[in-house]
Point group: C2
Chain length 168, copies 2
């Protein structure tokens, strides 16, 4: 996007821009998640991160399907939001030595990323429907539901195990 031009002229342009934003974000998460799998020492948390890494790779493929359905080239645009969320996750988890406290910090950091995606996919689904692209909306909705489920799973693990272990 040009610095002095205004390249988003229509709702469809805004939809494509946001698809590209989340495409970049998912790819960054595919790169970031293996380190979170590595750092986590709670077996349930590790497994949840591992499963979500698999889902995230699938989200990238789904976005490529949506680009294709829409007739637009699949490419990313910089997404300072996800860069900031990942940077913050690395900074905070880098400050923690104690393993149980680190597990609690990792789960919380992952939930910040999940919530960013929930917000973006929620918007994309609504915009796709408004644009009469129910085909795109259906694919995006599958990912939205997986992001919500991943967030609920992390809340469950944190409340049943991680927070208790970290506080004791």
């Amino acid at each position: 996007m040009g610095l002095f031009t205004r390249d988003i002229k229509t709702m469809d342009d805004l939809f494509v821009h946001t698809l590209r934003d989340v495409y970049y974000a998912e790819k960054q998460l595919v790169k970031a998640l293996p380190e979170m799998v590595e750092k986590s020492t709670d077996p349930q948390l590790k497994q949840a991160f591992q499963a979500h890494l698999g889902e995230t790779k699938n989200h990238v493929i789904r976005l490529e399907q949506v680009f294709k359905m829409h007739g637009t080239e699949a490419k990313g645009v910089d997404c300072p939001a996800i860069d900031g969320i990942i940077e913050e996750a690395e900074e905070v988890t880098g400050e923690v030595e104690d393993k149980p406290v680190l597990n609690a910090a990792l789960a919380a950091a992952a939930q910040a990323a999940e919530h960013y995606e929930i917000s973006r996919y929620g918007t994309l689904v609504a915009w796709a429907k408004q644009l009469g692209r129910n085909d795109c909306a259906r694919v995006l909705e599958q990912t939205l539901e997986e992001e919500k489920a991943a967030d609920r799973k992390l809340t469950e693990i944190a409340e049943a195990r991680l927070n208790l272990q970290a506080a004791s």
Copy 2:
């Protein structure tokens, strides 16, 4: 926080660090929201932003209460996540000329910020309870509920008005 020291030793340290993170985030939003009020041309959206600016100022005050209850100095730490979310909001909305498309973009950008806060306050409430600080949890929970309500309100306005106007 030191670059080569690991300053978060306990769950309580992690709680305080995250309080400081969201304290910084709320203050950045107090600075960013007036521009969103200014840019929005839909009267319901403008009113929602204006109301949320008032709430956000109150969230800063509530966090200061929580710091006090906890016996910790109220101060912020850099929060690259909110900086990235705000930067992205400014970038995207700067690309849009058409007023109805801009309103849809503004609402979506604000929802990304809401979701970041929902994730952080959700975590803080759970941690406060785990640490036996139900007093802090109760105050944080009030803000959590307001963030969720602000997000729902934006979804409502977007789906009833903004998306329709933007796509037509």
